[in-house]
């Protein structure tokens, strides 16, 4: 009885995982730092601790560089499990990661290994379009709270995270993901409804016919399957086009590209020169340091190398290249752009396209 009372009232013991940025070590140049452990809350953990009040205690913070995590994943996984075994927290929290891809995957992976191997609840928070959501949302003992795309949402997320930690840490049952404000985990739980299915269905149908909002009980996920294109039969006879997401445009930005959240793409004629000249082109992109690509646009559209390869490895180059600014582009815009670019490539009888990464 005494033990039970203590279990009900002691602060929930939390281990918090952060990357090198939110851990206060540094930005991209520090992404190679290894896993370290600090006592108590750090960075966003300070805000989380404040939101939890006396209900929880962040006993330790794990900080790891995003690059190190992905290059040494097995080592980090083992180290995290050792620390969790030593400190015996009630719950592990990772992030929030917002729309950061590598950080999101690291948060998901840390939660997964602790959930599966240490058998305890784990929580992370990120933007619903973060690639880690689809990878980790169905893992048992792992819950994902949806956030905005950027850390601007931090202030709003931390109290929600604290509420979820209180429930999980106290072993309280959670309702459906929709009611709890969580990303759905694809789990079905049996419950008893107050009205029979036929009545509920008719109510929904009437609402639908009246144009009123209603909530389906059987959401259908539209998972898109994209069949890969067939391989290029012989590159030496193929007509190759180039696409860049670096926001490469003629000097003066004639089409008004924006540095973020692209809403348009354009097609520009390649110059009749052996390479691109930085004086004729401009980089409209808010996601990387454009100084180098500005000085040498061939870094983001390798015309210099492609010209050398024509006749040897490549049949011919399409006379145009396609350009879009790939920073925070919405899926809908990207899809429209992709379809339109593909149609244009088809009209020009292009056999293959090189999408240059930035």
């Amino acid at each position: 009885m005494v033990e039970k009372e203590q279990a009900m009232t002691h602060p929930i013991r939390i281990i918090h995982y952060l990357n090198q940025f939110f851990g206060g070590i540094g930005g991209e140049d520090k992404a190679d730092v290894g896993l370290e452990i600090r006592r108590g809350p750090v960075g966003p953990g300070l805000g989380l601790q404040h939101a939890l009040g006396p209900d929880g205690e962040i006993i330790a913070t794990l900080i790891c560089g995003d690059n190190y995590f992905h290059m040494q994943m097995a080592t980090v996984r083992t180290a995290v499990l050792d620390i969790v075994g030593d400190l015996r927290p009630d719950i592990l929290v990772a992030g929030p990661a917002f729309n950061a891809g590598r950080y999101g995957m690291a948060c998901g992976e840390v939660c997964k290994v602790v959930a599966e191997r240490a058998h305890m609840p784990t929580v992370t928070a990120m933007y619903p379009e973060n690639p880690a959501v689809e990878t980790y949302r169905r893992v048992p003992n792992l819950w994902i709270l949806p956030t905005g795309a950027t850390a601007a949402d931090m202030r709003a997320v931390l109290p929600r995270l604290a509420t979820l930690i209180r429930k999980l840490g106290r072993g309280q049952p959670l309702g459906p993901a929709r009611a709890e404000g969580l990303i759905p985990r694809g789990q079905r739980v049996l419950t008893t409804a107050s009205r029979p299915g036929a009545e509920r269905a008719v109510t929904m149908l009437l609402a639908k016919l009246r144009g009123q909002p209603f909530q389906t009980e059987l959401p259908l996920y539209q998972l898109e399957s994209v069949p890969p294109a067939s391989p290029v039969a012989d590159l030496r006879t193929a007509r190759l086009a180039t696409i860049t997401t670096a926001g490469l445009v003629p000097r003066g930005n004639p089409d008004g590209f924006k540095v973020f959240n692209a809403t348009r793409w354009s097609r520009y004629r390649l110059p009749d020169a052996p390479a691109l000249n930085g004086e004729d082109w401009e980089i409209i992109h808010g996601g990387f340091n454009t100084a180098y690509a500005q000085a040498n646009p061939n870094l983001v559209l390798p015309l210099d190398v492609l010209r050398e390869l024509v006749g040897e490895m490549i049949g011919e180059l399409d006379e145009y290249f396609y350009s879009i600014t790939g920073v925070g582009t919405s899926l809908a815009v990207a899809k429209q752009a992709g379809e339109a670019i593909a149609a244009s490539l088809g009209e020009d009888h292009v056999d293959a396209a090189l999408l240059v990464a930035t």
């Binding site: 940025f21 939110f22 851990g23 206060g24 070590i25 540094g26 930005g27 960075g43 966003p44 953990g45 300070l46 805000g47 795309a149 950027t150 850390a151 601007a152 931090m154 202030r155 930005n253 008004g256 590209f257 924006k258 540095v259 973020f260 959240n261 409209i284 808010g286």
Partner: protein, 108 residues
């Protein structure tokens, strides 16, 4: 705002006081501008940097705002800034920074 910049601003205020310091932002999107403005007024909202929990309440403006723009020689503004003002959502950026100033009760 990266950790080095936050540290530099904090150290500057600790050394010189905050009376004669104005922060001018060149942030390219509204979310970042709002976050940076909050960082130097109410404290780092992401809790990542040295200004987490530190309210410096410095006057902060984006370079597109009239208070700053009118102090720059027009030909210099035209050459260095006007192009970016055209391609970025300048109005929203300015509105968000202004809103943070009002929330924090700071002005120069």
């Amino acid at each position: 705002m990266d950790l080095e910049d936050q540290g530099a601003i904090k150290a500057t205020v600790e050394e010189l006081g905050s009376d004669d310091i104005v922060v001018i932002l060149g942030s390219p999107d509204p979310d970042a501008a709002e976050m940076y403005a909050e960082t130097v007024t109410l404290g780092d909202p992401t809790y990542a940097g040295p200004l987490a929990g530190v309210s410096l309440r410095l006057p902060v403006y984006n370079i597109f705002e009239p208070e700053i723009k009118e102090q720059i020689p027009p030909e210099v503004y035209q050459e260095q800034v006007a192009m970016m003002e055209m391609v970025l959502p300048a109005e929203e950026i300015c509105a968000r920074v202004r809103a943070v100033r009002e929330k924090a009760g700071v002005s120069s």
